[in-house]
């Protein structure tokens, strides 16, 4: 799994147990957790400033939609994937092309989504250059 070595990840997830599981799974893949945020305002700050390769975003964060964070990341062309208990329908059309993980998900599903996310983004960037 060298492909994820030193990949810098932002996690936005309000539930610690779930965040912890994602953190552990990503760490095992070789990723580095830039931040694991449980609040949208805080996550926005991180998304704006930190050096991030990919983001795993819970859709509903302590009662608030995560999309302000997603907007920043898109502007910064940071690939992202969503994890949600609501299903794909919860995503607004602007973000419906991004990979979605339906809770609960397995480590394997997380890995596949992450792969898809990074590969697609690399392809897009390569095409653009």
């Amino acid at each position: 799994m060298t492909v994820f070595t030193d990949v810098k990840v932002l996690i936005v997830e309000d539930e610690f147990t779930v965040a912890m599981m994602i953190e552990d799974a990503l760490a095992e893949l070789g990723c580095r957790i830039v931040s694991s945020s449980s609040r949208v305002p805080h996550a926005c700050e991180i998304a704006e400033t930190a050096d991030i390769d990919v983001a795993v975003l819970d859709v509903n964060v302590a009662g608030q939609p995560v999309f302000p964070v997603a907007e920043i990341l898109r502007r910064r062309r940071v690939p992202m994937l969503f994890s949600t208990g609501y299903g794909v329908a919860a995503l607004p059309p602007a973000f419906s092309s991004h990979p979605v993980l339906s809770k609960p998900f397995s480590d394997r599903e997380l890995q596949q989504a992450l792969t898809l996310c990074i590969t697609a983004n690399s392809a897009a960037n390569a095409g653009g250059v």
Partner: protein, 728 residues
Amino acid sequence: MSNVEEFPIEARRTTEYEALMSAASSVLNAIPGAVYLCDHEGWLVRYNDDAARIWGRTPALGVERERFCGSHALFLPDGTPLAHDVCPMAKAVYEGAEAHNTEVVIERPDGSRRTVLVNIRALKGPKGEIQGAINCFQDISSQKVMEEELRHKNADLEDFFENSAIALHIVGRDGIILRANKAELELLGYTAQEYIGRHIAEFHADAEVIGNILSRLGRGERLDRYPARLRAKDGSIRHVLITSNSRLEDGEFVNTRCFTTDVTNLHEAEVGRRESEERLAATYEAATIGIAEADASGRLLRVNDALCRMLGLSRDKLLTMSFYDYTHKDDRERDAASYARQTRGELDSYVLRKRATRGDGRTIYLDIHSSSVRGEDGEFRYGVRVIQDVTAVKQMEDQIRSSEQHLRVLLEALPAAVYTTDAEGRITFYNKAAVEMSGRTPEPGDMWCVTWRLFNTDGTPLPHDQCPMAIALKENRPVRGAEAVAERPDGTRVPFIPYPTPLHDEEGNLVGAVNMLVDITERKQAESRQKTLIDELNHRVKNTLATVRSLTAQTIRHADNLDDFLVRFEARLLALARAHDLLTRRHWEDAPLESLARDVLTPLAGEAAGRVMLNGPSIELTSREALSLTMALAELGTNAIKYGALSSETGSLTLNWHLQGAAGSHSRLILEWQERGGPVVKPPTRRGFGTRLMEGCIEHDLRGEFDLVFYPEGVFCSISIPIWVEPA
């Protein structure tokens, strides 16, 4: 006459002319009448005094002679001027023509005229030659006047007979009609040919009547206005009165003269009057409605049985009363005022509903229709009052009115918008709820719906004439299962279900419709809330499963052995489940901290539950706070029962909490976990998963502070979390 020998002059006899010429004047004057002679040339040669008298002049016989006539001027009887040289005398002289009783008119110099009867003869000589002519004339002026008078009289009589307005006929002794005038013919419709010459009996409808008439007339009796019936040509029977007498000559019956007066109309009128009188009387008594006649003061003059029954009073009693006597005192004045106007002629009639008191004291309602009978002079004679007992009707009307009122009140009170329309869709009634729901008061002429604007459930506009009510009316069927949204003038919208239902009369004709609009705002809100809840629950369940999955993985990773896994995992799962229980009971809204702590710690502590003390003010936690705090307290509790104070018989646990800072955004909840009296505590050699979980739940999830210290006398843990407390 050439073969006749002429006698010598001396030998012949004197001719008439010569004789007359030679006669003395006295001879001519002796003739009883006017006489004059003309010679063969027409010259007037002799005349007598009578002639001069009639002429009114004495014509000269000498040198200034005159011809043909001694009159001043001549005229024919019809007044045409007659020249002397063409008068009868001239014709006699020239042509030998005689005149017999020819009438001419002589005008005298004074202008007066005389009618004379002229007789002229030519006087001839022996050889037949005209020697002259003699004219004898009589003044017949006075006869003429009489004649004229007679002629006039006759004509008058004829005219009288013929043109008399009274039918007249003359019947001979054999009963044959001799004459009949126009009036008679017109009366019966026959022509003179059809009538005259027939037997009078043929035209009588009653044989014995004409027999009687003829025999009486035959005896010379007079008939005066004798009633009979004649048969007219069209088959109808004419009622006539015959006035007749017989004309007898020398005691002999000659004929009868009959005046026939047509009284058919009179007869019919009489029959009609009698019948109508009888009918009226029959109607009066048979009528099921009351009829009364009253004088100007209201006193009853005549009443029928129905009125007696209606009022429960006898006829005799009623005829001593006025109609005011039985009228309820509160209605008396109204009736009296109208009746007074009627008797004065200001009103032809009036209608009135009033109360009356019956003989038995019961009050009844009467509808009065009062009218007047007036004389030819217009004077009030009596009032006719038609009276109907409408007590039952009145009661029914009252009932209907009260039930209508009741219905109205009911509809008003109904907590649903209700309105009605006529068959065309015009709004006829609406209740308060309709006004409230539509946010406006319907205006006159509004059609189909009380609402301001309508929309379909998908938000597209719904024109009023296509709304469910319009469909119900146009298709004459109730519409069910429809749903629409009404917009009020203030812009707010109300989702509703309409129940339009056509209304029919007894014959089944569509007369309108009633619609009930049920406001389903709350249901819609409930549906929306439910959808949110289901979404939330789904989210919650999925998150919880993710949590469980994480806990499972982490617990396995850090467990010393299977038994250790079981204890820790079970504790974590049950704590989670209890927190869920508590939140579910409170609909995932706020949960009290004390209940939460007790629910988590009591089952963990088991027998040691009595040594667990909870102290603190009443605090409400959000579901998020409740779940995270549950996880932390479950970890601390498990540790306490496994290794800490609650693992011994003597140890105790105290959980104190208090609020720090002012109520509002900057409050903090401080919880202090203190174990005492248990085994001596040794700090763990490595940081376990439990500690990480607690820290994560407090610091990550709640952005709080978590501090755990392993004092030898007991574990102490301090938790501080920001909390929203409603300002008092």
